[in-house]
């Protein structure tokens, strides 16, 4: 294994190259620009193509085009840019195309700010574009996971023929950590559906999301949702930290989970039985893992860098069977471990 000290955004870009990504189409936006810069410098040498598009809209449609031919392809952006990509993402999902989309989140709404945020949770997991569809959403909490999850996202996107998103944030994108690049054996999936020239060997392939007959459109959506059920059953993932005997279980993902983990450790030192469920996949949401934690938990505390978006999924996961409290900072503000500890104590004190 090769050990390196790398910035989150650059590690992610390097991982994409190693995962067999062949094309990257992007548009500059803070705080993810290092991904483009790294690929502009290194991708061609590795046989890949980096192209700066005229807009996020063009970039995502270039992704649609390359993916249609069966090519492994990625794009990245940050919150306002992801909103612009949402049209294309809906078409990609509606055309059953794989693609990897990175969102290094920043504060919103509107132009918002450029500091870390988790306020795009709803967008990523509920409504990234019009119509009935989902994306696979991975939530890394370290630079190492930026690497591991990009590789996984490519494989799963190909396997399920759907877009996959890495929902990171400016914190993870900008921080440096030592990482290991595992021996990556990217799974090369056969793509008999690809529109890459029939060569006189088969009937023409059509990549399309238009179905004017409602019966046909409904059938397609039903088929897609059957796949989603399989994904929900097999792909949901979470880290369980000290949850077995926890009375107060915190739920946090991404950079926030690192802060929360420190707070949980501080609470344990003070004799408070706190634990953490850290979703690694946000869609599918780790419902089973949350319920596992609910066996001992008397209360849940959801911590997010937003006004509270994931909290609804936690409540739904346990059918509101336990009190679920919320603590959050937003606009680019990051909570401190002591602030989370105070909240744990406050909630614990309500018993």
């Amino acid at each position: 294994m090769e050990r390196k000290l790398m910035k989150g955004n650059e590690a992610l870009a390097e991982a994409a190259i190693r995962a067999g990504c062949k094309c990257f189409f992007g548009y500059p936006i803070t705080p993810q620009t290092e991904i483009s810069a790294y690929l502009a410098k290194n991708f061609a040498k590795a046989g890949g193509l980096f192209l700066q598009a005229e807009s996020e809209i063009a970039a995502i449609n270039m992704v649609l085009g390359a993916s249609s031919t069966g090519t492994r392809v990625m794009t990245s952006s940050s919150s306002p840019g992801i909103s612009l990509k949402s049209e294309g993402i809906s078409y990609i999902a509606g055309s059953d195309l794989p693609a990897v989309i990175i969102n290094v989140q920043r504060g919103g709404p509107g132009l918002g700010g450029i500091q870390p945020s988790q306020a795009d949770y709803w967008q990523a997991t509920k409504a990234l574009g019009h119509g009935d569809f989902q994306l696979l959403v991975y939530a890394p909490a370290s630079v190492q996971e930026m690497v591991d999850m990009v590789v996984k996202a490519f494989d799963k996107a190909d396997e399920y023929r759907m877009p996959a998103m890495i929902l990171a944030d400016g914190f993870l994108g900008q921080m440096m950590e030592p990482i290991e690049f595992p021996e990556i054996k990217a799974e090369q999936v056969e793509k008999p559906w690809a529109a890459n020239g029939h060569g006189g060997k088969r009937a023409h392939n059509i990549i399309n999301s238009l179905y004017l007959k409602p019966e046909q459109l409904e059938k397609n959506v039903f088929e897609r949702y059957e796949r989603y059920e399989k994904i929900k059953a097999t792909e949901a993932d979470a880290e369980m930290y000290l949850t077995e005997d926890a009375e107060i279980t915190l739920v946090a993902y991404g950079a926030t989970a690192r802060v929360v983990k420190s707070a949980v450790n501080m609470a344990r030192e003070q004799g408070i039985k706190a634990g953490l469920v850290r979703p690694k996949t946000l869609w599918p949401f780790p419902v089973k893992q949350i319920n596992e934690a609910a066996k001992s938990a008397e209360k849940f505390l959801v911590v997010e860098m937003s006004m509270g978006q994931m909290i609804d999924d936690v409540k739904l996961a346990i059918n509101c069977s336990k009190p679920v409290e919320f603590m959050g900072r937003t606009g680019g503000m990051i909570m401190k471990p002591v602030e989370v500890l105070e909240e744990i104590k406050k909630i614990g004190g309500k018993k």
């Binding site: 193509l49 192209l51 005229e54 992704v63 085009g65 249609s68 020239g197 029939h198």
Partner: protein, 250 residues
Amino acid sequence: MAVVFERPKALLDVSTHYCPGCTHGIIHRILCEVIDEMGIEGDSIGVCPVGCSVMAYDYFACDMIEAPHGRAPAVATGVKRSNPDKFVFTYQGDGDLAAIGTAETVHAATRGENIVVIFVNNGTYGMTGGQMAPTTLPGQVTQTTPYGRDPKIQGYPVRVCEMLSTLDGTALAQRVAVDSVPHIKEAKKAIRKAFENQKDKKGFSIIEVLSTCPTNWGLSPIEAIERLRNEVIPYYPLGVYKDKEGENND
């Protein structure tokens, strides 16, 4: 009996949804004749727009992709960049190419994307029932300009070939029409040249085809051809606006 005239193989034997008298059929045919003559059907990938030709993927025998509205040149960029040895073309209308997709069109051209763009200009949004297009002529009555297009309110039409001819990445920008046999022959020759350009890696080639829309113009097919000849061609003169011969950007 000897067959002296038949359907091009690249054009599938299916009925189309186009209105009677619409010139999409002619343009589909000459495009497919070129694909047949060059023997490139198996190596071609077409990109459809949103608009009247939205379902053209069911008519062309090569591999096809349906793009979001206006994004066909960006989709084609992704196809061509990942498959530089394949022939890639878009087939777009005026609303798609010259309004919502202006940025994608201009930037594909200025990057010199080695693709062919077939641009069908009939001066209206046909599929949605005849609203004003970016190419609608001054004075022309449409559903959204019921008193005629007034440049003081709705501005002026876009002349696409003229605009794209200023860009270094454009290899060929030519305007043709399909109102007469000589013009149809010329249009086919232009499309052939665009595909030859792609073969020779010369860059972006756009063939603008002045077309009719009898349904939304409220005219009979013959009257529509006459209007094309008497009103449309004078506003959008036919000809070659840019022809970058002899260069190789490989």
